[in-house]
């Protein structure tokens, strides 16, 4: 009896093993080139991307794209470790400012032969700034998927109530420092009369990108032109930080300490916020908020808008067949960019931006008007060290726990230590 039972069981196990083996064989049958595609699109954008990947697989029976999504917070760690172990996916997304470290580590393959090849793309169609950002030593190491610039989101109802309107009576967003300050002083007020401000003209949302925009508008470059040294104590950066700290000091803008900024905007208690186009999904879900989108007002002496791009990169060292399939996927995604733009992105190509379909996307088209002066974060290999220090300086200055000069000097020193370490290492090990 006992023997019978175990034999049956054994047979079951064997059957399972055979089935699994057959399934695995099935996966690889048909000679389809498998292209693994990694990205960090875990939000609503991920669903759009998944649909695009499915469409690609239907159109290309000889290739199979497999998308893997993981949270941006840990995405780069995983990607980097996979790359070191030689297990990087064939195609992966990086933000343009993070490309440099993947380039330096030797993970990326130049795509110039593919771009110029039979199934190529017209590179003149790309915005020069965007296409130039993926270039290293005359070669291009990625195909820009999109651009996501920061822009001005504003509350139309609050603007109308404050009488900041055009001739037609529509809310009129500010365009320069003067109109911004006017709007700010009018819109920041105590509506209940209890002595506490409960409606704010403007809030700082994500300090890093907000401060990036303002400093760029004041003329900051963060580094010497050859990225040899970090410069944060220049007049432009100090002036930009001081300007922002002053707004808080004067009670016109809430301290980041006590206010959940983006929530405040969505609650209708904030009239203006600088945010990325990707916040669109949040706002579109909300029917009780009359929001508008416009290019950022110019607070310094020149226009600038923080932006980043998702870049599709190709893993170095692929066999020709897989490489061709991977390129087809990259091209497919780039060509179908307008589907992607619907979710809150700006295409990287002129022809797509100029299309009627894109111009009908209200917020995207408004933010795309800034394409001539978008500003990426600097392409340095020590970008994460720079971010940590920049974030910390912004937090300290806006929370008034350090003066702009002190906080920026400390940040500058810390980044320079990282640069110096990098340099010593490169010299010692004969690096890139």
């Amino acid at each position: 009896m006992i023997t019978d039972y175990s034999t049956t069981r054994l047979r079951g196990v064997a059957l399972c093993i055979v089935c699994t083996a057959l399934l695995c064989v099935g996966c690889d049958s048909g000679g389809r080139a498998t292209v693994r595609f990694w990205c960090g699109f875990t939000g609503p954008d991920g669903r759009t991307m998944l649909r695009m990947i499915q469409a690609f697989n239907e159109e290309n029976p000889d290739a199979r794209a497999l998308m893997q999504r993981m949270d941006w917070g840990t995405y780069y760690n995983k990607l980097f470790v996979a790359g070191l172990g030689g297990r990087a996916p064939e195609v992966f997304i990086t933000h343009v400012e993070n490309m440099e470290r993947f380039f330096q580590a030797g993970f990326l393959d130049a795509i110039d032969d593919l771009v110029d090849g039979a199934a190529g793309v017209d590179t003149d169609d790309f915005f020069p700034y965007v296409w130039g950002a993926v270039e290293r030593d005359g070669l291009h190491y990625g195909l820009p998927l999109d651009v996501h610039p920061q822009g001005l989101f504003y509350n139309k109802r609050l603007f109308r109530e404050a009488g900041i309107v055009d001739e037609a009576g529509d809310a009129l967003p500010p365009t320069d420092r003067e109109s911004f300050m006017d709007a700010l002083t009018t819109l920041t007020r105590d509506t209940t009369g209890d002595g506490r401000t409960d409606q704010w003209g403007f809030v700082f949302t994500w300090l890093r990108t907000n401060m990036a925009t303002v400093t760029r508008q004041f003329g900051s470059t963060y580094f010497t032109p050859d990225f040899d040294r970090c410069v944060l104590t220049d007049d432009a950066t100090v002036a930009a930080f001081s300007f922002c700290a002053d707004l808080i000091q004067r009670g016109l803008v809430p301290s980041p300490e006590h206010f959940d900024a983006w929530i405040g905007f969505r609650q209708g208690r904030v009239a203006m916020a600088f945010e990325g186009i990707y916040m669109l999904a949040d706002l579109e879900k909300q029917s009780d908020l009359e929001w508008g989108a416009a290019p950022l007002p110019v607070l310094g002496d020149r226009p600038a808008a923080w932006a980043s791009s998702h870049v599709m990169c190709l893993r170095a060292g692929l066999d020709p067949e897989t490489r061709a399939a991977a390129w087809r996927l990259m091209r497919f995604l780039s060509d179908n960019m307008l589907d992607w733009a619907e979710g809150g992105q700006v295409p990287a190509r002129h022809s797509q931006i100029d299309s009627a379909r894109f111009q009908n996307m209200y917020a995207q088209a408004a933010f795309a008007r800034q394409m001539d002066y978008i500003a990426y974060m600097p392409p340095v290999p020590f970008i994460f060290e720079f971010f940590s220090e920049f974030d910390r300086a912004a937090e300290r200055v806006l929370r008034a726990s350090a003066s702009a000069v002190d906080a920026l000097r400390e940040a500058e020193q810390k980044v320079n230590v990282a640069i110096e370490r990098q340099r010593r290492l490169t010299e010692a090990g004969g690096g890139p």
Binding site: Y76, Q104, F259, G429
Partner: protein, 290 residues
């Protein structure tokens, strides 16, 4: 030696093999590897091969104010969390021990329940509780006109995290202490009561000494756990505001897996290990005496 005798002696080792393999593969070897690594400069971003630098990484840690701040944040957390957790666990265990057998199982389960929740979920939920604008705690305090900057004030953020940790972890030590209380012979209390000892003296002279080994165990485990705090902080504040809650494990994580400085990360991990070892031994000594 007969086969039977051989098996009687060595079969025990056979049972140890599976764990010994895991122990070596995932603990002993990485530990040794980490120690070796801590004497090398190895930055994954650079194609340069790892390079022996002696104690440079340790020297850098001692000179770095970020390391000092992270260490201090870890100490602050441990100094608040460990005594509070053990003290609170003891109080709850005494309370639960005093109720009738039938109800005891319910209370034990109730106090233990939070420990079952994963830290990512607990962290996420508590971040909402603490949220300044629409968080639950501030909503409760609103009628009194209070708005507490739970997570946005540099002096308060760590205390808020300790508070959350208390809720999350108090159940484990409580169950262990409760089991310890059960072990104390009832006759001791009866004899003391006959001798006229009041409740406090019975607690002081019977409960505490009898519970000492269990308390020791609970306290050490808690201190070790507190030194390794990471999940709560990472989920709730990410080390902010102004890095006031950036604890050592988070700093090590960032160093190794954001900046890819493996050697320096390994060196700091060993310093943390030495800290934990030092305090564990110290505590063992203190509580074993007498």
């Amino acid at each position: 030696m007969t086969a039977r005798r051989f098996w009687r002696i060595y079969s025990g080792y056979l049972f140890l093999v599976p764990y010994a393999v895991l122990f070596c593969a995932f603990l002993a070897l990485p530990l040794g590897y980490g120690l070796v690594l801590s004497f090398f400069r190895w930055e994954m971003l650079s194609p340069a091969p790892p390079q022996f630098v002696g104690v440079d990484n340790y020297a850098e840690a001692f000179q770095s104010d970020y390391f000092r701040n992270a260490l201090w944040a870890t100490f602050r957390f441990t100094l608040m969390a460990a005594p509070l957790t053990v003290g609170m666990a003891l109080l709850i265990a005494l309370g639960v021990n005093a109720v009738s057998d039938k109800r005891r199982a319910f209370y034990r389960a109730a106090y233990f329940a939070p420990a079952v929740v994963s830290i990512s979920v607990a962290g996420l939920v508590w971040r909402f509780f603490f949220q300044g604008e629409f968080g639950m705690f501030n909503a409760w305090l609103e009628p009194w006109g209070w708005r507490v900057p739970w997570l946005t004030d540099t002096r308060l953020a760590m205390k808020s995290i300790v508070f959350m940790t208390l809720w999350w972890t108090v159940g484990g030590p409580m169950v262990v202490l409760l089991a310890g209380l059960h072990q104390i012979p009832r006759q001791l209390y009866e004899a003391a009561a006959i001798d006229g000892a009041n409740a406090w003296r019975r607690f002081r002279h019977i409960t505490i000494p009898q519970l000492r080994p269990v308390l020791l165990f609970v306290a050490i485990m808690n201190i070790i756990g507190s030194f390794q705090v990471f999940g709560q902080v990472f989920m709730i504040t990410r080390g902010g505001p102004e890095q006031s809650t950036r604890v050592l494990v988070q700093y090590i994580y960032e160093t190794a897996f954001t900046h890819y400085r493996m050697g320096y990360g390994a060196a700091m991990s060993w310093l943390l290990f030495l800290c934990i070892a030092f305090f564990s031994v110290l505590q063992f000594r203190l509580m074993r005496e007498r």
